[in-house]
Symmetry: C2
Subunit: 593 residues, 2 copies
Amino acid sequence: MPSYTAPLKDMQFVLHDVLNASEQNIPGYDELDRDFTAAVIGEAGKLASDVLMPLNAVGDTEGCTLENGVVRTPTGFRAAFDQMRDGGWTALDCDPQYGGQGLPYVMHTAAQEPFVSANMAFNMYQGLTHGAYTAIYMHGSVAQKQTYLPKMTTCEWTGTMNLTEPHCGTDLGLMRTKAVPQDDGSYKVTGQKIFISAGDHDMADNIIHLVLAKIPGGPDGIKGVSLFIVPKFIVNEDGSLGDRNGVSVGKIEEKMGIHGNATCVMNYDDATGYLVGEMHKGMRPMFTMMNEARLGVGLQGYAQAEVAYQNAVAYANDRLQGRDVTGAKAPEKSADPIIVHPDIRRNLMDQKSFVEGARAFTYWGAYLIDRAHKTSDADADGLISLLTPVVKGFLTDKGFEMAVNAQQVYGGHGYIEEWGMSQFARDARIAMIYEGANGIQALDLVGRKLAQDGGKHVMAFFDMIKTFASETKGQDEAFDRDFLEPLKSASKDLQAASMYFMSQGMKNPNNALAGSYDFMHMFGHVCLGYMWARMGLAASKALADGASDVAFYETKLATGRYYMARQLPATKMHLARIETGADPVMALEAANF
Amino acid sequence: MPSYTAPLKDMQFVLHDVLNASEQNIPGYDELDRDFTAAVIGEAGKLASDVLMPLNAVGDTEGCTLENGVVRTPTGFRAAFDQMRDGGWTALDCDPQYGGQGLPYVMHTAAQEPFVSANMAFNMYQGLTHGAYTAIYMHGSVAQKQTYLPKMTTCEWTGTMNLTEPHCGTDLGLMRTKAVPQDDGSYKVTGQKIFISAGDHDMADNIIHLVLAKIPGGPDGIKGVSLFIVPKFIVNEDGSLGDRNGVSVGKIEEKMGIHGNATCVMNYDDATGYLVGEMHKGMRPMFTMMNEARLGVGLQGYAQAEVAYQNAVAYANDRLQGRDVTGAKAPEKSADPIIVHPDIRRNLMDQKSFVEGARAFTYWGAYLIDRAHKTSDADADGLISLLTPVVKGFLTDKGFEMAVNAQQVYGGHGYIEEWGMSQFARDARIAMIYEGANGIQALDLVGRKLAQDGGKHVMAFFDMIKTFASETKGQDEAFDRDFLEPLKSASKDLQAASMYFMSQGMKNPNNALAGSYDFMHMFGHVCLGYMWARMGLAASKALADGASDVAFYETKLATGRYYMARQLPATKMHLARIETGADPVMALEAANF
């Protein structure tokens, strides 16, 4: 059975050595000293290891069941959800006015990581609620906030997001779900939504569905979409639960993974709904949810890779096969542990250097969100808006790849469900798809974000790298060679790709779009390279300052050197692909595929 | 539900336009004219589409069950197995002396492809039998051949390979299964074997287990391993079935995929076994099986990608979302089919160009095996020995990646089991693991094959590419630019990596082994590049000769150009990684992972 231990030192390293959290001039950050964050993530890690991890395989094996219209979650989920609620984990960063703890988003993000590593399917029940909370918090009326948020911060009521319909996913303009205005100001919502995560379950008193629908007579396409609150049970004026609303579960989908989460077909049949925000402007609050959700999905990518990696390391230290080619390492045993073999190392280093870089990237993203929201910093807002598709697309693609690599370390045992490695790969797979399939992330990046505000944000990104390089250069020859030079070279490749898009995309937008996926990956590598350079710098500084845990910081440096030397060269390949333009990609008639 | 149509034109193109099968001076090849091969693969394709494909999801959903010690296969498997037997598909290339049809191995390989695409788990029952047939055919005594082979060519009796034990997979020297000699010349075999594909089932009268075991008192390690025939039912002198042997199924493993195939724990308890070949020389016949099996596993890699690709194309033509950014393609519909979008194209072209290159590589490999075996061509033998780990490792890694990419085209529907795309990915995953995990293939390639016979075979490979380039150059400017130049450049990268291994591997073998996995992928790209150059040439020739199906050949050229332009640049990245040597890979102490 796989196990999990929250990598507290690595998490603290990012929060403090790299991001210098407590020294940032952002409201709430002054609280984030080492002791405080250690206490929070330490407790989160304990809950994850002791309670959530043992339920991960249970959720996978039992799955959710639909009995007489009611979804039953796997054995033990309900009790664990109570523990999560009781510990106050469901609303770390929510507004205290509604029962939240008012901590920065970066703290929420760090505390989520262990939960996601230990049991991704389970954690989605509260994760979706958090997204729904944010949409109502940002766009709901005062009355709506007062009615729903206090119960949602505690997860007494959970939330869902209802976008997809059988014939429309990415292209929400094709939506058919209708919302007909009623005399009392409410709406009657009718239609079918699919792929609704946590769509129904037995762990909360009420479920607050956020549903996109069209009000008849509104504009065509995406401009006629509005957002509605559709509670499972109508909430009475006094806050008590009233009638069952006209929403029911059609079925639970059989999926490749995340079996512990109920992915439902939801049928709305004259269900009472309440408009959130303005009529026909439903995409705005939906995007509020989605951007937050996308960072969270990026986190899922590397968090699954983290738990898979931990188990792969344990197996590689335990499994005896063959001998170190340079001389036996465990002559007293029948064979050496497989961690002696260079190709096992290569695999583990790929995983390790990715996961640690991805963690830094994600926490930095959360920090940018805090800076944007709490200090109204437009530059931070622009930067995180640019980077969101990279966080989501790159970290989930690579997270899955690394979970597959970790599975590979186990040989045949990796393919057997009993060992748990298959589940990490199967669960991680969804993160590449939901909240906008990764091809859509690439489209968002290249088709929208790159040119946003006249390309200002991507220019600021390049400036940031340049400034970082010039400010740190010349102090340490090894750092310059091992970290700065590769970063500058990769960043130059990314700039060349941006230039190519600008010049050739003008002639034919497909010249840019045909390279969008490669660009997203390239951008991801540059971001992780930047993060590793910052981590390398922080580790060097800690060592120079006489830190006691020398092995920890030297390991950071070695892991960073690995990423720079063996992962960053991917940018050249991506650039070469991009510069072939649209021709090879678009050459065939559809009939000739 | 997914569907499958055998890509007969593509298969014929490789057999005839590229390999010129019927003109090769190899015994049996003269029969392989276009009409004959069309008839064979056409019938194979029909069986695959009509009978095997509909059972693919059944096998996945039902799996195999163990009831009172007997394995039951999924509904319909037995009848389908009878059809396969009745059609004579189980022994196309086997010796007519034992009931085979005596066709070349390349014909067997081509005929297998549709079966593997349509139902990989099902096809393994006969695939394993074929491997066991080969081991007995090559190394068994006359009496053993006469006893077992006639029933194995018809699959009245099926076969298995028993290598792995709980504590030993790759490192077979650690084996504990014992074989104690008896007075009558037989052995008593005792031990436990795991991961035994098709270990037991209800589709054959007898199962012939090939079991590796140690005869007490023999040499330590791998040199003390012998191979035994251990039939499920003892075969009487007259060929009738006698007593049940001391072999039983411990359990069926729960796996990520290939649920239709029973992967068994096999317990041998004083089971009667018969030595195959020489005492303590059991690895030799096992390798005979494994090399053939490895080509077959490479085929599984791309064959799963092929069926996944076919369905992804159908979905991309069917699913309406968004509009072509250069102008609506289906203005009469609510949206354009997603195949208009460049990133969907990029994904499909990656799949298509891989699958077609991989097919050519595999058939060429089968042709080399024929040449080696049927004409005792030592060069062909050396070349296929070198390339076997590349076929297995590269085609299964990429095959899985492409099946995952095909799944991605479906968005959320790709994650739902109902649509069948998850199964292709889950089934394809095993091919990276069994018959030697891909890291072992890389080790075999770099640690053994590269230096074999003084490096003669890899030199011959480079010469072959060089000769091909010089012979074809200068006739067609576009061909030179689009095919030859990229091939030469990629081949040069591969040579540089070989040189690096030679010079740096002398100092420390880890400098080579740390780059082995990248080298295997690089080699795979060069092989597919070479295949695409040959296919490009063949397509150009057909067009110049006035072939009627212009679109087919032009599509080949466009697909080849795509591979050369957008896949071959990967060699530069792999070279950069390789040239970092062992240092970044081996930097950490095992305790610091």
